[in-house]
Amino acid sequence: MSKAKKTAFLAAFTAAAVIFSYVEFLLPAPIIPIAGFKLGLSNVAVLSVMYLFRSRDALAVMILRTAISCLLFSGILPLAMSVCGGMLSFAVSALLKRTGKFSIIGVSVAGATFHNIGQCAAAALIVQSAGVAAYLPWLMVLSLVCGAGVGVAAGFIVKNLRRAL
């Protein structure tokens, strides 16, 4: 694939990820009373890029979408938490994908799990209290459900787009 075509694709995925973040921002307060819980829709784009291109391209998309969406919608403090969660999640996903032993759905669930662990750790550091751990059981159940959903969605995108690339 030409460099220009790849750049265009990555830009489109980044734009899609930002839109997903915006949709999540507009959604009403979650049904489950968990601080700032998000579905992780934008990870559909990041995960698709990881499978269609290379992990480093997915990292670029993830960093850009985190920076853009935090500047546009949420603010600096969620940025710190997002970056912590995002980096940990990315590292785990990329490593698991590299082993070749897991499907995109499994990788997505692991990514969601570590995203939440990273965010909890960041929140615990910011407020200087381990009380954040009380959110963990809920967050883990949600990681499984949302991570699987994101994985299935990304799987469809990868399957259908691979032919177009």
Partner: protein, 120 residues
């Protein structure tokens, strides 16, 4: 798109973490005792509010933002906050030991903890 057999490990991981954190919370808080809402700003305890039936109080907390905490019949909630995300208010009332409300913008956390019976 198919699952691979090793995926089951990744699916069990969050369930295991959830189970372990629940067990740890239960172990820490086992046994009958009285409860208190410990209010911390930046890790420093600013209030320890004992919780029991019939006690109703409103406590304004001025951290980075202004929050109003309400203690009502053994439960506690943040009822108003002038930060912009208000996630702490949406959390509602908490009453069980180990539960917590975390307000990241104000660096504020409220955790329900076990307290000794001495001199209530």
């Amino acid at each position: 798109m198919r699952l691979k057999k090793w995926d089951i490990l990744l699916f069990l991981l969050p369930i295991a973490i959830a189970a372990v954190s629940i067990i740890i919370m239960i172990l820490i808080n086992s046994g009958e005792s009285s409860r208190a809402a410990v209010v911390r700003i930046d890790g420093e305890t600013v209030y320890t509010l004992p919780l029991y039936d019939g006690l109703n109080e409103e406590i304004p907390v001025n951290a980075k933002y202004n929050n109003k905490i309400v203690v009502s019949d053994g439960s506690v909630a943040v009822v108003s906050a002038d930060c912009k995300d208000n996630t702490c208010v949406k959390r509602g009332y908490i009453s069980e030991i180990g539960e917590s409300i975390v307000c990241v913008p104000s660096r504020l956390s409220i955790t329900i903890e076990k307290i000794e019976e001495a001199g209530k």
